[in-house]
Symmetry: C3
Subunit: 267 residues, 3 copies
């Protein structure tokens, strides 16, 4: 299947819409990355809210612009809330994103992620090892880190998208978003993102934010990837290590003008 490079105009349009609407993004994410996830959404122009109790979370999903579900540190009670919120999102037409952190790492986790995936997220965003694990191929990552290149997972991503009816976004040196038929890609970014926890997790939250304002989930996902790659590339020019990179990344997300959002062509 052919792969098209993302359109800068479409991404600029999506970012403009994001900032104009400031969508409320309900985040059910892991224990490690809650702060950076909130800060990435705020810097980009969205409004994050973490609401976690079964007593209120599904109600909150229904009034949100989008929902993020991230399985970095799942446990049974929180997985139950995730499922209830995914159902609420489906019932109320709220787009939602599943970040299947460390899919394949343990059987219990992989099963929990498969059950969430069966609820048909709007977008599934993962690294190559995670997407390969869910597509039934691959040998699994190293904990939460990918041991595969995103390019090797493209055909698995396309197949998984067709089978599940979910847009699949696989990220790495090149990012892809595909519905199984149409595939958009963006290259660039910087390897320093792998040394700052939460850059991948918060990219999934950006996918949710864009899905709140852009009806086509392939466009929404690749817009998020383009913004993140632009910010990473900009940050890397100013940072001397992962500590300063973290702050430069947030600053770049905040400062970028929509029309400047060009990164590299995909390989």
């Amino acid at each position: 299947m052919s792969v098209q490079t993302v359109s800068s105009t479409a991404v600029a349009h999506a970012l403009t819409a994001l900032r104009a609407n400031r969508p409320l993004v309900h985040c059910l994410t892991n224990e490690v990355v809650q702060e950076i996830t909130a800060n990435v959404l705020l810097a980009a122009g969205a409004s994050p809210a973490m609401v976690v109790a079964m007593e209120e979370a599904p109600v909150f999903t229904a009034i949100s612009g989008a929902l993020l579900i991230n399985t970095g540190t799942p446990y049974p009670e929180r997985v139950a809330v995730m499922k209830a919120c995914a159902q609420a999102a489906n019932d109320h037409g709220v787009p939602w994103v599943l970040d299947p952190v460390a899919a394949g790492a343990t059987p219990w986790r992989t099963q929990a992620i498969r059950e969430l995936l069966a609820l048909k997220p709007t977008i599934l965003r993962g690294n190559a090892s995670e997407i390969l694990a869910l597509a039934g191929s691959g040998k699994g990552g190293k904990g939460v880190d990918s041991t595969d290149d995103s390019r090797t997972a493209l055909s698995a991503a396309q197949r998984l998208a067709e089978e599940t009816g979910t847009v699949v976004c696989v990220t790495g040196p090149v990012d892809y978003a595909t519905d199984g038929k149409r595939t958009l890609s963006i290259a660039g970014g910087n390897v320093m993102t792998t040394l700052v926890v939460g850059t991948g997790c918060s990219l999934s939250s950006l996918c949710a934010a864009f899905a709140a304002v852009e009806k086509d989930p392939v466009n929404a996902a690749i817009s998020a990837c383009t913004l993140a790659k632009y910010a990473a590339g900009t940050a890397a020019k100013h940072a001397k290590g992962p500590g300063s990179f973290h702050d430069e990344y947030l600053d770049a997300l905040y400062l970028v003008q929509p029309e400047a959002l060009t990164v590299g062509d995909a390989a």
Copy 2:
């Protein structure tokens, strides 16, 4: 009711006392802002401790200088611990602060916050939408973000303070602290604080730290607001975006000399 601008001398005195005493602040806060809350307290001169189990948290409250309760990510087990700690604080004469995050967002949350408020915190610190929701007026915020200006919530804050016997601190472009009769205010700060998660939550932790060393809770609350506005104004001069603002804010909290704590006059 008349509103007085805060006295720089009183605030300088309070900050000097804070740094001399380094009070232990027991924090029961939300999942998102624990790190920035601890770092804000450390930078300002207090000693934070997050202790969360029912088996030990009330015991720990009793030996702390002050208690913070923040409802950003409540769930039943944690709310039960919050209530037990609030009771322990009352029993042992430990001042405590309630930050009613997203009051009004869902019925369950609002009810939990009302039950905590019934335990009579020393200080209630919230944004305009939260204070309006608890005062029975207002249309609610957008998730955790305020959609109202602090100035529109002043009379509701004063009424709520009189009704509950709690000092109410409502913050935004202008911050107010009131016991219903006496109201102090401080203006200034910077809008960048709305783009960094936890600046409001950690301001509540500063209210607790000041309440540990300053007997008058109106003075304690407005001292915390003045310190936070000073740090935000200073940080904004050096930061290029929310990433660098976060660090500059912590540095400013640490570097400020008490006698330098003048911000602007309230509008």
Copy 3:
């Protein structure tokens, strides 16, 4: 007992091995410091993963290079997971580190820590007040902060190491690692580390990372201390306060060349 200054050559060797192997470090840590712990491990060259559910955590320990257990915010369900993971580590020959945060602060916490210590961690890493509390002496710290100097806890650390068969690492102005017979030490660092939450907790995670690649736990612990002290000393030269120190610390962990790892002689 005599105390030897650490060998720079041994530490350089350990850091080279760490970066070459990029060990997977399973972290069961507290709610406050999860992000900085992950970022410290990534910056130093390890691969962190936080996996917390009873259903998968012990399975994950078994495939990890090392395990960290930190009792900053314990509660019964999480303590049960910690015990199961400690047992899994013992069963599979995975080295593990116990960070007994605020040992002595409450009876319930101290008892939970004693039960974990009875499972025989490879390394016990704490501040002076914590080590004194576990050795049955000392008057306890102030919440999570030490009120004692590491030098006053050395003999208690040596006795505790002999009694428990665990290498004890007590840190502060001077850091010591001892098995009760052999004691290595390193001085230096910077007091600014006490104003950034998680520097101690993440030092324990570095002990775990080094234990994954260095068989002798005394060498592993003192290598972690040396790296942390070097990074703190370097960061302090560039930082103006705790906000900028945090980022400089991460940058220094990332940038340091193994052969540059000399700090000061111990007092």
